[in-house]
Amino acid sequence: MDYAFEAEGLVKRFGKTTALAGVDLAARSGTVLGVLGPNGAGKTTAIRILATLLRPDEGRAEVGGLDVVKRAADVRRLIGLTGQYASVDEDLTARENLVLLGRLLDMGRARAGARADELLGLFDLAEDAARRVSTYSGGMRRRLDLAAGMVGDPRIVFLDEPTTGLDPGKREDLWRTIRSMTADGRTVLLTTQYLEEAEALADDITVIDHGAVIAHGTPAELKRIVGGLTIAVRAADAEGARVAAKVLRAVSGSEPAESGGGALTVPVDTAGALTEVTRALDAGGVEVAELSLRLPSLDEVFFALTGRHDEREESAA
């Protein structure tokens, strides 16, 4: 198969800490690979190795068919990097940053300027192009980071937690931007702590934890493992809670679990279950304080994947 990048058995230690303990990653050309994992799982270390910023202690990695250690200089011509550790200069304006990067990519002054203006337009920053980056909001800053990774029109793009720290509405705006970046056959490696982000953007997802891969598959495959969706109900009183538990048991066929704040949760396979629950709660006269349908949290995913989890998710799987 034609892989845009491929890593095998990556091991990286920092002193006594093992950041990566043998990680395999690969993405076919033109696809988006999501690397999902909690803080400290080794996501950033993996990206830094692929982007030639770190040498692996063991294992090998190729980007565009080139070894990242032996052909580092050539790999750098193929990639664009964006994220926590590859940033723009806050004392410069957005345009100055992009022009500088263009100049470093050997564009002439005019071409670097034209490319900067083009990207500022694409990433919706044209109006603020002449402002110093230090005055930017979180969302604008992230958009500029993305634009900075795109100056050389790279075929392979590494996005390290591009939306971490943004509020949910802003995050979805940024997803749209990222999707437009991936539309024209670019290969993207995206790391994230959010399952819904990986699901929204990635063709394949690799889940890593403690420096090791614990699952790999399409979003649909992973969801089958972790059990689709979760319904949570919080009743206004104890009597209501009793009825709600009965309703949830009937609809989902599994025992409701009590989560924080007195809410009851059950895993369900389809969003249609929410309608059923709503109807039954209404018929039972339950006064509801909170009712929600959500994707499993990253915690639940990890519990499901590592086998360290309780009964209810087992039955969902």
Partner: protein, 271 residues
């Protein structure tokens, strides 16, 4: 056919690019540094005003008492203040700006690009040279107004500047190293400031060492900045030159040889 021609043009363009790449990239990055200084002149001005203030203060307050006349004392003090200004500029401005780049991830962006590894460093050194030039020109101007005159020749004066700048640059790696080790920027700045006192004042800068206590003289004899001060004094107003200049350059090389790899090592461990 058209493609063939284009291929050829592109290939020769690539060759030219490679040859001039490092120069152009370094210059582009120099431009960035200078823009930053213009936007955030705070630290740079600190490093400029402190030596000027000390020069005025010491000469007019103590000059008469120490040397019998302010003019005589200015002749003694000025070379030391010059070294102090470059050491300050190095410890505060250069070190802090490299440190900030590393921390904010700007450095990694550059490292992930197809440019020479040394381009960001060269860029920052060239930009610094511009800062040092401004500092030294200001200092010479103030000194001239106060009555200081170079007693040797132009070439020696330039060499004096070179020695002072070399020492300042090599010492700047102390704050780079400390900056990579310690996350808090304010603490790094404090350490840089604290380091300045033993380094800059623990010398023969303000007064001859004959009357100082033994322990202080012991430190002054080891302190590399002392050699820098002696070298610059020799080059500006006469006195021994070869020994102190050699010692200063050796010390500077030593600092670079030790601190640059240490900083890189600490940096790679951090992530």
């Amino acid at each position: 056919m058209t493609t063939g021609i284009r291929d050829q043009t592109e290939r020769s363009a690539v060759n030219t690019t490679m040859r001039w790449g490092l120069v152009r990239h370094s210059l582009a990055l120099t431009g960035r540094e200078l823009t930053k200084v213009r936007r955030n002149p705070g630290i740079f001005l600190d490093a400029l005003f402190m030596p000027v203030t000390f020069l005025l203060l010491f000469v007019y307050l103590f000059g008469g008492a120490v040397s019998g006349s302010t003019g005589e004392y200015l002749r003694y003090l000025f070379p030391g203040i010059m070294v102090m200004s470059t050491v300050l500029a190095g410890l505060l401005a250069t070190g802090m700006s490299i440190n900030r780049d590393i921390k904010k991830g700007v450095f990694d962006r550059f490292r992930s690009m197809p440019i020479g590894r040394s381009a960001p460093l060269i860029g920052s050194v060239v930009a610094d040279s511009a800062r040092y030039v401004v500092t030294l020109v200001t200092l010479f101007a103030v000194g001239y107004l106060m009555g200081f005159r170079v007693e040797t020749d132009l070439l020696s004066a330039l060499a004096a500047c070179g020695v002072a700048v070399t020492l300042g640059f090599s010492l700047s790696w102390i704050s780079v190293f400390v900056g990579v080790l310690i996350k808090e920027e304010a603490i790094v700045q404090t350490i840089a400031f604290l380091g300045i006192f033993p380094l800059a004042f623990g010398t023969s800068m303000v007064a001859p060492t004959e009357t100082m206590p033994g322990w202080l003289r012991a430190w002054i004899d080891i302190n590399p900045v002392t050699h820098g001060v002696e070298a610059v004094r020799g080059l500006l107003v006469g006195g021994p030159v070869a020994g102190p200049v050699t010692a200063t350059l050796l010390w500077s090389a030593g600092f670079l040889v030790v601190l640059v790899p240490l900083s890189v090592w600490a940096y790679q461990r951090r992530v």
